[in-house]
C-alpha cells in the first residue's frame, strides 16, 4: 500500500477515536470550547489531508461536518440532533476508511443526504428537507439569522476575492456537486466498480491482514523500553571501548581490518541509540494536558478568574521523568491557584488585573529541563512565614532574624509546613511542597523558589536528563580529564599570547576579544580548585598556545581555559553518588572507553561560579539582549558555490540535510533528474541550470523536505556555515535569488528556495515576482519553524523588517513591552494563544488598535474567514499563497499611507 495512504489511515483512525470520545464529552458539556476546538481541529486535519491525497468523498463529508462544528464554535446553540449527525458522519467516514483500506480507493457512493443534513443544521443552505430543521424546536434562532447572509457569501464565488488554491474546496463546489447529483468521483476509471467487489471478496482474508497494518502504533511495556535503553547504553560503552582500542592502534604499520566494520558498528549503534532515545521522549505537553481543565475548575470553585499560560509544550523529556513530575506539577499549579492568586477584589485594589495568571514554561538548558511555574499573585509573606517558623519550632527567633528572605522562603519545602491560613479542599494540609521536593529530588532534580511579596512566586524545577547519552568534549585540566557537554560548547579557540587571539587582563579578570565581544575567561583548574600543572602556568600562556572552550549557558557565554582538548565522544551520563551531589560543578560522571571514570562538568555550575557578582547586570542585560536579538536576527547561513565562484547563501534552517550523491547514481525520467534516496525517488534541481555541471564524482546537494516531499538542490560546493545578519541590500536580477547581502564581508547572493521548490513539484507553490515596498516593521507570529523559516525570507525579501515570534503570547508580550509594528502577520492555529485571540488582544490594546492584521493559515475555511472578518482582520491568506500574502501586504501599505496622509 502507498506509504502516504497508510500513514493517513493510521493517523485518521487514531483521530477518529479521539473525536468519538471527545464528542460524547462535548454533548455533555456543550460550552466547553476546548473540546470543540480539539474536535474541530482533528476533523479539519482529516479534511485537509483528504484534499491533499485526492479523496473527494471523504473531504466533502469532513468539510460538511466541520462546517456544522464551525457554527458551534462561533457560538450557535448545540443541539442533540447536531451532535448525533456529526457522530453519524464520523461513522460514515470510518466506513469509507475501511473500504479505502481494503481497496486503496475511495468506494463509490454518495453522501449528500448526510451532507445536506449537516449543512442544513449548520444553516448554510436551505433545502427541501426543511422538516429536518423543523424537527428542531426554535433552538437555532442564531443560525436562522445567519441564513440569508451565508448563501450570498458563497454565491460570490471566491470568498476573499482571490483564487482558490489546489486542495481547497469552497462551498460553491460542494453545492455544485450536490446539484449535479453526480459525484466528484469522475476520476475513477469506469471499470473499477465491477472489479472492486470481486477483488474484495476474493481477498477478504488478505484485506483483513492489511487492515491490521493500518494500526501502526503499539503499546509497549515501559520496562521493555527501559531494558532496551540499558542494553543500548552498554552497547555504546562497548563500542567506545572498541573505538578506544582502534585509536590506540592507529598509526601502526598494518591498517587494521577491523576499522571498516567498526565504523559501521559505530554508526549503527548511534542510530539505534537515537531510535531508542526517541521512543522514550515525550513532549511535556502531555504531562500538563490536564492542567487547563484543573485550573478552570479551580477558578470556578475559588471564584478567582485565572488564566493559564503554557509555554514550551513541545519540550521533550524522558517519559519516565514525565510520569514522575506530573503530580508535583499539578500540585504546584494548584498551590499557585489557591494560595498565590488573590481574590479579584484584592487584586484590583493592588492595581493588578482582575484575572490572575499562572504561567507554565519548559525548556531545555544544558542537559537539563527547566520547568517554571510562575504566578502573579501575592507572593510569599516573609513575616508570616517567620512567625510560623518560630511557632512551629522549626527555627529560633535569632536564627530567623539572621536568615535572608530567600532562606525563609525555602522553608515551605520543609515537611509539615503550610502557609495557608485555612485548609481548603484544594490545598493547605501541610503535605505539599515537601512532597513535591522529595519527588523532584528522587529523580535527581532540584527545586528553587523565588518570590516577591505582592508580585508573585516563581518555582523553578530543574530536572537532569538522567540516563541520557550525550555527546561530550573530553578535555584535560591539571592532569585530570573531564567531559563537557557538547551542547554547551559553542566553539574552541586556540589562544596564543603572541598571536592574534590573546588573553588580556582587566585587573584580575581575564578576558578574550572574540570577534565583537569581550569574553570573560576562567581557568578550569581555578574553578575546580586544583593546582595548575607547573608547566602550564602563566609563563607558558605568554608563549605557548592554550585552548579556550567557549561555553554558552542560556544567554551567557564565557571561556574556560583547559590544558588539553581531546576528541568528542558519546558518553552515558551516570548520576553522581549522593555524596557528590553538592559539588555543583559536575552534573554526573561516566565510564570512558578505557574503563576509567571521568566527571562531567555542569555548564550551569561553571556559569554560576563565575562571578555571581555579574548576576544583577546580567539580568538587566538579558532583557535588552532578547530585544536586540529580535531586532536584528542573526541567523545561520549555509554558504555554497554554484555556477560561479561567487558565494551564495541560504538560511540553514531551511535546509533539512546535506547529502552527497555520486553523479552516476542520478537517474533520468524525461527531463527530470532524480536519485534514489531512502527508498524513494528524490527529484533533483540544479542551482546553475545552464552552466556546466559536474559529470563525475560526488555531487553535493542540499535536501529540502516538507512533509512527504523531498527535493535535492544540487550545488557545486558547500563552503561553510556562518552566523550572520541577513539583510538584503540589492535586488537580484538573477532567477532564483532574492538579492544580495553582505555575509562575511563578501557580497553574497541569497538563494530563494521558493523559486526552486516548484521545479521539483510544480504544485509546491506558485512563484511570484518580487515586490519591494518600503521597509516597515512587521510582526510575524507562527508556531511552525518550517513555515517561519519559509515565510520570513519572503517577508524580508519583500522589504520588511521582520520580527518573528513563536506564538500569540510572545507576540502580545512584545507589543505590551512597547514594541511598535506597522503590520502584524499571524498564524491562526497556534498553541498558547491563537491568532484570533491575538488579534482581539491587539485591537483592545490602544497602541496596536490600528495595526492591520493579516491572518495566515494552513486552513482556509468559510467559518475562519468569517471570524477573521468579524475581528476586523485585514485579510485571511493561505500559508502557501505567497502571491496573496504579498498582495495583501501591498494593500495594507496603501491603507497605512492613507492613514498617515490623513
Amino acid at each position: 500500500m502507498d506509504d502516504l495512504l497508510n500513514e493517513f489511515l493510521t493517523e485518521t483512525n487514531e483521530s477518529l477515536e479521539v473525536i468519538d470520545t471527545e464528542l460524547v464529552r462535548f454533548e455533555r458539556e456543550p460550552n466547553n470550547a476546548k473540546i470543540l476546538d480539539n474536535v474541530f481541529r482533528l476533523v479539519h486535519t482529516i479534511k485537509g489531508t483528504c484534499g491533499f491525497l485526492g479523496l473527494p468523498r471523504l473531504e466533502m463529508l469532513a468539510h460538511a461536518a466541520e462546517t456544522l462544528m464551525g457554527t458551534y464554535r462561533d457560538g450557535a446553540t448545540v443541539s442533540d440532533d447536531g451532535v448525533s449527525t456529526i457522530l453519524m458522519s464520523i461513522d460514515k467516514i470510518k466506513d469509507i476508511l475501511l473500504a479505502l483500506e481494503e481497496t486503496e480507493k475511495e468506494p463509490e457512493g454518495k453522501d449528500e443526504e448526510l451532507i445536506n443534513k449537516l449543512l442544513v443544521l449548520a444553516g448554510v443552505f436551505e433545502d427541501n428537507e426543511q422538516e429536518n430543521a423543523e424537527n428542531e424546536p426554535k433552538q437555532e434562532t442564531d443560525e436562522d439569522l445567519i441564513l440569508p447572509e451565508e448563501p450570498k457569501e458563497s454565491a460570490g464565488g471566491g470568498t476573499m476575492g482571490r483564487e482558490l488554491k489546489p486542495g481547497e474546496v469552497s462551498l460553491d463546489d460542494l453545492e455544485a456537486a450536490f446539484l449535479n447529483a453526480e459525484g466528484p468521483d469522475l476520476s475513477l476509471p469506469p471499470e473499477k466498480p465491477a472489479q472492486e467487489p470481486e477483488k474484495a471478496n476474493a481477498n477478504q482474508a488478505a484485506a483483513k491482514k492489511e487492515k491490521a497494518m493500518a494500526n501502526q502504533t503499539i503499546r509497549v511495556n515501559v520496562q521493555t523500553i527501559e531494558n532496551l535503553m540499558n542494553m543500548v547504553s552498554e552497547l555504546v560503552l562497548t563500542r567506545n571501548q572498541l573505538l578506544e582500542i582502534s585509536r590506540r592502534n592507529e598509526g601502526r604499520e598494518e591498517e587494521s581490518e577491523f576499522n571498516t566494520p567498526l565504523q559501521r558498528l559505530s554508526n549503527v549503534t548511534a542510530e539505534l541509540q537515537e531510535g531508542v532515545m526517541k521512543t522514550r521522549m515525550q513532549p511535556i505537553g502531555s504531562a500538563w494536558g490536564k492542567l487547563p481543565r484543573i485550573v478552570r475548575d479551580l477558578s470556578v470553585e475559588l471564584g478567582k478568574p485565572i488564566d493559564l499560560e503554557m509555554i514550551g509544550n513541545e519540550t521533550e523529556l524522558d517519559r519516565q521523568v514525565l510520569e514522575l513530575i506530573r503530580d508535583p506539577l499539578t500540585h504546584m499549579v494548584r498551590n499557585s491557584a489557591d494560595h498565590g492568586i488573590e481574590m479579584p477584589d484584592v487584586r484590583e485594589k493592588a492595581g493588578k488585573s482582575k484575572t490572575g495568571t499562572i504561567r507554565l514554561s519548559a525548556h531545555h538548558e544544558g542537559g537539563h529541563i527547566l520547568i517554571s511555574i510562575a504566578d502573579d499573585g501575592k507572593g510569599l509573606n516573609t513575616e508570616k512565614l517567620s512567625e510560623k517558623l518560630i511557632s512551629q519550632g522549626l527555627a529560633s527567633e535569632s536564627e530567623v532574624n539572621s536568615m535572608s528572605d530567600a532562606q525563609i522562603h525555602k522553608y515551605i519545602f520543609h515537611p509539615g509546613f503550610s502557609t495557608a491560613e485555612k485548609v481548603t479542599a484544594v490545598s493547605g494540609r501541610g503535605v505539599g511542597m515537601d512532597v513535591v521536593r522529595t519527588n523532584i529530588e528522587l529523580i535527581g532534580g532540584s527545586i528553587d523558589l523565588k518570590s516577591a511579596e505582592g508580585s508573585g512566586t516563581t518555582v523553578t524545577v530543574k530536572i537532569p536528563l538522567t540516563l541520557a547519552i550525550i555527546p561530550a568534549l573530553i578535555i584535560e585540566s591539571a592532569g585530570e580529564r573531564f567531559a563537557i557537554p557538547q551542547l554547551a560548547v559553542s566553539e574552541l579557540v586556540r589562544v596564543n599570547q603572541a598571536g592574534e587571539n590573546r588573553i588580556e587582563k582587566i585587573k584580575n579578570a581575564e578576558v578574550l576579544r572574540l570577534r565583537n565581544s569581550l569574553l570573560p575567561i576562567v581557568r578550569l583548574s581555578d574553578l575546580l580548585n586544583m593546582e595548575r600543572k607547573q608547566e602550564k602556568d602563566d609563563n607558558v600562556l605568554r608563549s605557548d598556545s592554550t585552548f579556550v572552550v567557549v561555553t554558552e549557558v542560556g544567554t551567557r557565554s564565557f571561556g574556560v581555559i583547559v590544558d588539553e582538548v581531546f576528541h568528542t565522544e558519546e558518553i552515558v551520563v551516570k548520576p553522581m553518588s549522593g555524596m557528590l551531589k553538592d559539588v555543583s560543578m559536575f552534573s554526573g560522571n561516566t565510564i570512558m572507553g578505557d574503563g576509567s571514570v571521568i566527571m562531567i562538568l555542569d555548564p550551569n555550575g561553571l556559569s554560576q561560579s563565575i562571578g555571581s557578582a555579574h548576576e544583577e547586570v546580567e539580568k538587566n542585560e538579558l532583557s535588552d539582549e532578547k530585544a536586540k536579538n529580535k531586532d536584528n536576527d542573526i541567523i545561520s547561513l549555509l554558504i555554497f558555490e554554484a555556477g560561479s565562484s561567487d558565494p551564495k547563501a541560504v538560511p540553514l534552517s531551511l535546509v533539512t540535510r546535506l547529502e552527497e550523491f555520486d553523479c552516476s547514481s542520478v537517474e533520468r525520467a524525461g527531463n527530470r533528474h532524480m536519485v534514489q534516496y531512502r527508498d524513494r525517488l528524490m527529484p533533483l534541481v540544479y542551482v546553475n541550470e545552464e552552466g556546466n555541471r559536474q559529470t563525475e564524482g560526488a555531487m553535493p546537494m542540499m535536501v529540502f523536505a516538507e512533509g512527504e516531499r523531498v527535493m535535492g538542490l544540487v550545488v557545486d560546493r558547500i563552503i561553510d556555515i556562518v552566523e550572520a545578519k541577513l539583510e538584503l541590500q540589492v535586488d537580484s536580477d538573477m532567477e532564483g535569488f532574492l538579492g544580495s547581502a553582505i555575509i562575511c564581508e563578501r557580497a553574497t547572493e541569497v538563494l530563494d528556495v521558493g523559486y526552486f521548490l516548484p521545479k521539483a513539484y510544480s504544485d509546491w507553490f506558485e512563484r511570484k515576482e518580487q515586490v519591494r515596498p518600503r521597509a516597515r516593521r512587521l510582526l510575524y507570529a507562527e508556531d511552525s519553524p518550517f513555515f517561519r523559516n519559509m515565510i520570513v525570507p519572503v517577508l524580508i525579501g519583500a522589504g520588511y523588517d521582520v520580527t518573528a515570534v513563536e506564538d500569540g503570547i510572545e507576540a502580545f508580550d512584545l507589543v505590551q513591552e512597547g514594541a511598535k509594528f506597522d503590520i502584524v502577520v499571524t498564524d491562526i492555529e497556534m498553541p498558547n494563544m491563537d491568532g484570533f485571540t491575538l488579534t482581539r488582544c491587539l485591537s483592545e490594546n490602544k497602541n496596536s488598535a490600528n495595526w492591520p492584521v493579516i491572518a495566515l493559515s494552513a486552513f482556509v475555511g468559510e467559518a475562519s474567514e468569517e471570524r477573521a472578518k468579524a475581528l476586523g482582520m485585514f485579510d485571511f491568506i493561505a500559508k502557501f499563497d505567497r502571491k496573496g500574502l504579498i498582495d495583501a501586504l501591498k494593500r495594507t501599505e496603501q491603507v497605512i499611507d492613507v492613514e498617515v496622509a490623513a
Binding site: 552498554e234 575546580l528 551516570k574 553518588s577 555524596m579 557528590l580 560543578m585 560522571n589 574503563g595 566527571m599
Partner: protein
Amino acid sequence: MSNNKFGNSGKQYVTIRLAGQLFGLPIDRVQDVFMPDNFTFVPLAETQIAGVLNLRGRILTAIDLSKVLNVAAVNETNIERPAISVIYANELYGLLIDIIGEVVTLDSEQLEANPVNLDAEWAKISVGTYRLEDELLVILDIDVLIEELLNKEAA
C-alpha cells in the same frame, strides 16, 4: 569457627585494620573486597572522598575511612590500599582501609556499649565494642557512617 557457635546470637564480621586499630563490619553488608586502581580524583569534593572509579561497570565512590575516622592511615597512597565495597541507598561505595583481616563470628550478646569517653565522631558511627582476647574490636555501622557523610555534604 562454625557459624552456629553462638546459636542465633552469632554474628559474622569482616575485620579491617586502620591505623593500627581493629574494626569490624557486618559481613552481610560487605559486597566485595578489592584492590582499587585507576582512581579519578573529584575536585571540590569533601576530603573524605578519595575519588570515583569503575568497579565492573558500576561507578563507585571511594571513601577514605582514615579521613572519616580522623586517623593517619599507615599507607597514605590510595593505590595500594584495599577497599571494601558496600551498597547504600542503591549506590555503590568503597571504604579504603589499610589491611583486610579475617572473618570472625562473635556472640552479639557480648557486644558492649562504647566507652563514654570514646571520640564523639567514632561513637556516632560505631554500635559497640567486642573485647577480643588480645585487643578490642570496634564495630562500625555502615549506614550511619555513610549517612553522616551525606549529611556533611548537604550541610
